[in-house]
Each structure stands twice: as C-alpha cells, then as structure tokens.
C-alpha cells in the first residue's frame, strides 16, 4: 500500500549537519577522526544483547527486499534503531506542533488533562522539517 502524495526523498542531500563529513575509507581506517562514529563503534558490542522495538525479523525482511542480506544481527538492530529514532524525532516534532496548535486554538478552554491526537496537520510540518513533503491526497478512494 502506498499513500498518494507521500514522497520520501531521504537521499536528496538532507545532511544538514556540517560536522559529519566522512567517507567509507575514513570510517574504516581512521575512526577516531569522527566523534559520532567512534561513539557508535563503542556502542556496537552493546547491540549484541539489545532488543529494538522493531522485531529483527521484520527489519530483516524489509532489508532483504532491498537486496541487503547481512548475517550480523547487530547491523540489523542498528538499522532498526536508526529507523525508530527517525520516527521518534518526527513524533516529538509533531507533538510540539500539536501543543502549539491546540494552545493557540483553544486558550480559553484550558484543561489540565488534555489528550493529544496526532493529525495530519501536525505531522505535515514535522515531516517537512525532515525533508519529507506530504501532500494532501487529492481524493480518497
């Protein structure tokens, strides 16, 4: 199933962080040059007994559909973690949008126990920050 109007262009140079500049050669030979990389290398053994939220089987299956076949479960777990981290960032941004929107909208009826509902109005700007454009589908079938 695909959502019309959802275009995920991750590979389009969304790297806005200027500090991370590395190549594969640097990664393998000169790991100490990048702080994030070094941290991750240290983190790698702890992935051995870490269970990400996404089951390994599901991630592995989607990776296989991309032609990625790894026998190392740590690599799969790292990808699960990264994907979920991305999703979590999006969700946090959407929550901020939701809070701002509802506080602007209904300032008079300010109740303490307010429930937050994720809507496309919140999700669209949050995704736009990550470079994903979500257009409203022209019609629903």
């Amino acid at each position: 199933m695909s959502i019309p109007g959802t275009s995920a262009n991750h590979a389009n140079g969304q790297d806005t962080k200027p500090t991370i500049t590395m190549s594969a050669g640097q990664m393998v030979s000169n790991q100490s040059s990048s702080i994030g990389g070094q941290q991750l290398i240290d983190f790698l053994p702890s992935l051995e007994d870490y269970t990400p939220t996404i089951p390994d089987a599901v991630t592995g299956s989607f990776l296989n559909s991309a032609g990625f076949a790894s026998t190392d479960p740590r690599v799969v777990r790292l990808i699960s973690l990264a994907a979920q981290k991305f999703l979590s960032d999006v969700a946090n941004d959407a929550l901020q949008h939701c809070k701002v929107r509802t506080s602007n909208q209904s300032s008079k009826s300010k109740s303490k126990d307010r429930t937050y509902t994720l809507t496309m109005d919140d999700l669209t700007p949050a995704l736009a920050e990550h470079g994903i454009t979500v257009r409203k589908p022209p019609y629903f079938v």
Binding site: A8, F43, I54, V58, A66, Q84, L87, V90
Partner: protein, 267 residues
C-alpha cells in the same frame, strides 16, 4: 491468513503507535499513522538499499557496520544520538511475529483404481488422475422402451385421467346418491333429464358409425405424441400386438347365429 507484507506492516504500525505513545501522544488519526508506517517502511528499505550500494561499491557482498553508518550519515540521520536513544528508559518492545505453521495437508481420498500407462506413454510421465475425473457416466436413466411397460403406463395414465374427470364432474355438477342417505364417498353423476327423453334418439347428428375402426386409428395417434421413436414399430406390429398384448381384450366374436330354420325344423 495475512500475507507476509501485510503482517509486517501490522508490526510496523504497532511500532509506530508505540513510538507515538512514547512521544506523548494519546491517539492518532489513521491517515497520520499510515503515513508514519509508510515512512518507517521506506526508511528501512532506503537504508538497506543505500548500505548495499556502499558495500557493493567497496567490492564486498555482505554489508558491514561501516557501510550502514555511511548510509545513515548520507541519509542525514544523526548517528550521535543513537546510543542515547537506545538507552532511553521507557522503551517498548514489540514481540516478533510468530511464524505461521502451514496447515497440515489432508490425505487425498482415493477414488477408484488408477489405470496404468498404455504402452506408448513413457513411465516417467505422471500417472492418470482418479478415474472419476475423466470417465463419463450417464447421469439419467435409460428410457423404458419395453412395450408392455409403456402400455401399462399408458393404461394407468388413462385411468387416472378418467378418474380425475369423473371427480371434476361430480364437483361441478349435481350428484346422485346410491344410498338413501346423502353420501359424499360414492357420488354418482346425476343424469340430466331432457324433456322428451326420446328426442336425442330422433335428432339426426354426425355419427361415427365405425366405432371400432375409429378407436384403432386413434390409438397410434396418441402414441405418436408420447414417443415418436416407437411409432414405426407400433404400426408394423399393430396386428401382432392385438393378439399377444395382455392389456387388450381378445376380440369377442358374436355368438353364432342361431338358424331359425334349424329351430323350426323338428329334429
């Protein structure tokens, strides 16, 4: 039974929902959740695709940790926060989907005996299917062509028609009773008296004189309607059948005329 992709997407939607709950949301619209699932799926596939591309660029077949890191960096994901994210407090773990056990194949019911191959078919070819798959069997009863049975049937039919007609007549016309008390069990069709009772006998009308002849010519016509196939045979056998048919009365010859002469002449 869910397809594999559908089951995987179900797990992904559980993951997306748990992520939303961790973030502090209480509920979500279907559209938004579906969008998140779509993004989650596409980001996993994209990381895999990109990692594979880097790994193949380096001349390897199996992706290493470094390839994945490079792919993550190229996608613009912040890898420095990953460890902190992994060690967060309230992480929800989705149980791995259970592998479905394929249903046990039921034993195929053997029907009939499979014939062996004819000589011109090599032995390595598959055996014949069950005979019921290709043997044609008539599903209707063969029509009865026996003359006696047909005649019996026709007699029964004729009797039924007469009986029904009688019953109908007693229903719509007046009835007489055979007994003194009025009864409905044995009704008799009332005779309608005409005023001069002898009038019918006097009035001329088209009369079929040769009653016997007419009867015999009618019977094959009725048979023609019933079964056309037997028509030829019946016409041919008409004479023979009138003799050896048990349902036809034998011809009653009139009693030999008593010659008055003989009576007159005293013996």
């Amino acid at each position: 039974m869910l397809g594999p992709l559908k089951a995987q997407r179900k797990v992904l939607s559980a993951v997306a929902a748990s992520t939303l709950i961790e973030a502090g949301f209480d509920s979500s619209y279907d559209t938004a959740l579906e969008t998140l699932v779509e993004i989650l799926q596409s980001i996993i596939v994209e990381i895999g695709n990109s990692s594979r591309a880097y790994c193949e660029l380096a001349g390897r077949t199996e992706p290493l940790f470094a390839d994945v890191l490079l792919a993550l960096v190229n996608l613009g994901l912040h890898i420095s926060d990953l460890e902190r994210f992994a060690k967060r407090a309230n992480s929800i773990v989705i149980p791995a989907p259970t592998t479905s056990v394929p249903a046990k194949q039921l034993g195929i019911l053997q029907a009939g005996v499979k014939p062996s191959h004819p000589s011109h078919i090599p032995a390595h070819l598959p055996v014949f299917p069950d005979p019921h798959a290709y043997i044609r069997t008539p599903t209707h009863k063969q029509p009865v062509t026996e003359y006696e049975a047909i005649r019996e049937k026709s007699a029964i039919q004729k009797r039924d028609i007469e009986r029904a007609l009688n019953k109908f007549e007693t229903k719509i016309n007046d009835t007489d009773s055979l007994f003194l008390s009025p009864d409905t069990i044995f009704p008799v069709i009332a005779c309608k008296p005409t005023f001069p009772p002898y009038l019918v006998a006097l009035l001329p009308k088209d009369q079929v004189f040769e009653l016997e002849d007419d009867d015999s010519s009618k019977s094959p016509q009725r048979k023609k309607g019933k079964d056309c196939i037997k028509e030829e045979d019946d016409n041919a056998k008409a004479d023979v059948d009138s003799i050896d048919n048990p349902y036809l009365r034998p011809v009653k010859l009139p009693p030999p005329k008593i010659k008055i002469k003989d009576l007159m002449t005293p013996s």
